[in-house]
Amino acid sequence: MKNDLQQILNELYQIDSSFKKYENELKIIIKNILATKPNTTFDASFAKKLRAELIDKATEIKTKNQFSVIDLIINSLTMRKLNYAAVGAVIAIVIMIPVAYTLNKSKGEFTQTFLTGLQISKVTDSAFGSLAGGSEQLGSTDGIGAAQPRTQSGGGGGMPTSEVGNLIPPYYEAINYKYVYKGEPITLDQQTLDVLKKVKGNTSADSLTSLLQSFNLGLADLSGFSNSQVQNISFSQNKPYGYTINANLDEGALTIFKNHKQWPQVRCNDQKCYDQQRININDLPADDVIIKIASDFLNAAKISLANYGQPFIDNNWKIFYEQATDKASFYVPDTLMVTYPLEINGQGVFEGNGYPIGLNIAVDVKEKKVNNVTSLTTQNYQSSSYPAITDANLVMKWVEKGGIFSYNYGNAQDTLEIEVGQPSLGYFRKWVYQNEQNDELLVPALIFPIISRPNIDGVDGRVVPNLNKKNVVVPLITEILVEFESEDDGSRIEPLPMPAVQIDINDVEEVKVEVIQN
């Protein structure tokens, strides 16, 4: 609406033509009022900040709305009478929330039998057989370049990874560490401790199978396939920033990851483009912002955090960033991992290298959205007692070495001290390959937190295999510690610095991988 003086006058004349004879006076009055219009002191920086906050809020609302359809179906489940036409959607719900719905076919209704939360059933002593059988240190070695349960771009085992250019490792000089215990003396008086074995799968799978077998999908009549069982179900959101959800009923695991078709794609053909896409360290949101993004997503998805502790962000990459001599070339991760550490009866669960295991939420730094959710599994265990370590000196011997997954370099010139504090009782996750399948065991262990370490500035350019180690893990089950004892003969493969991976981006069919040993 224009504020033209004449227009305002004309409007007045239309209302009452007698105004015309006072035109000069009216002009003065209106001009006077307009002249006294206050300066609003509009602040552009305020507007910019509010705009950014609104966009964040819009993202948050969108994330919540992405699950609103599922909420609708959840609500429909409470309506008891559910016809088979809605079965497809119901399947999604059975998986989406870790809840099993058992079908009462005779009544055509679903009855809820919740399988969320921690479930531990006691079985007889030593019921899992040998705990050492076929043991492998799956994905749990220590040191630079070793596999870690992280998927952080540029982080991982410590060195940034990139698909472009040549990565040439700097010269490293090996260092050994001695772990020095600074806590109170410990006593171990329990003759046996309970080992937990993960019970895979989900009773809902059987229900789903019986349900699906009643369908004729056109291409094939599923009822013709006897003894079949649903193993995986996937579904995707076909909307901007949608997700793909995969439910592995065999493993009782749910994975949520971005539906790539629905997310913005960056296609670069040259280095300049790649460089423009790179994240500057100053652009990284604060940790609490990243955690809030993860938390909001989990809330919206109604993912229970009952079995998890306070979240933290894997910032190990910053150690290597600080060490980097050419920080401008350092690949700052565009995805940060938020971990909600798993807690079983209040006790943490750890890899052998001391890293906490938990629910992992990858947050896309650029989009400020959750990229994927992994390690969301049912927490259903069997518990069985096994003979436990009672010799505190034996435990301390392992502490001094840095726990079960720690290494020494025969050619190291220096030995530096790392201090560890009072331990807490926790679990060490061990994989055992038996009967052609991997079983996940949670073994009682003492978790010694690292409370002091040498300044990383002092070890620049040298092999520091335990630099990002957070805890020292010593299992308390005799059989398992004996197994590690037998392996600790110096024959373990020494971890190497990040290998020099040379990738020629111009010839994608011939990827040359070369490992250079120092």
């Binding site: 305002i8 409007e11 007045l12 006077n32 906050e53």
Partner: protein, 189 residues
């Protein structure tokens, strides 16, 4: 613009909430000013402006174009926020007095604004609260009578009538001043 705005609103309501930023860009300054004219305090105006846009974003699905323009809907949220603000500040106050632009209230105002308000309030305080509000909306906020009617829940005809009566009253009240100005201001006009 209306078609474009309508499209943006439709996309927002369809879930593309990031489109809301475009609406924000169009209205931020207007809404801030609208609130500032009623509060005369920068920080308060910023707070209430933030609240207005957050409420609009969260309730965009409730906006019904058949019941009025988006602009009016947004201004009405802002107006309600101002009313709520004054309610929280002065529990016993007559809500109509919100639009009293006198400067002797205990509401915090910016100093430079106070001086201007003192001048304008000489003229406007003779008007009834709704008259003052409509005069300000028409002359300062540059809102159309249609928008004013939707914001204040008066008819367009009634809004026009209130405005014209306000001007008539101001003319009567200011006759002596105007006589002085008429002599001196002819050149300006």
């Amino acid at each position: 613009m209306e078609n474009a705005e309508s499209t943006i609103i439709t996309r927002c309501q369809a879930g593309e909430l990031e489109q809301f930023a475009q609406l924000y860009d169009v209205y931020i300054k207007k809404i801030y000013s609208f609130i500032f004219y009623k509060t005369s305090h920068k920080e308060t105006a910023e707070d209430l402006t933030s609240q207005t846009f957050f409420k609009a974003l969260q309730n965009i699905n409730k906006y019904d174009s058949t019941k009025g323009s988006f602009s009016s809907w947004l201004y009405r949220i802002a107006r309600n926020n101002v009313i709520d603000y004054y309610r929280s500040k002065k529990n016993a106050i007559d809500i109509d007095a919100i639009w009293d632009l006198s400067t002797d209230s205990d509401i915090e105002r910016d100093i430079d604004v106070k001086q201007k308000l003192q001048e304008v309030s000489k003229h406007l305080n003779k008007l009834k609260p709704l008259q003052k509000e409509i005069v300000v909306m028409r002359l300062w906020d540059q809102l159309s009578y249609q928008e004013i009617s939707e914001i204040t829940k008066n008819s367009v005809a009634n809004s026009k009538m209130i405005f014209s009566r306000s001007i008539r009253k101001l003319r009567e009240e200011m006759s002596l001043i105007i006589l002085f100005f008429v002599i001196n201001i002819t050149n300006i006009i």
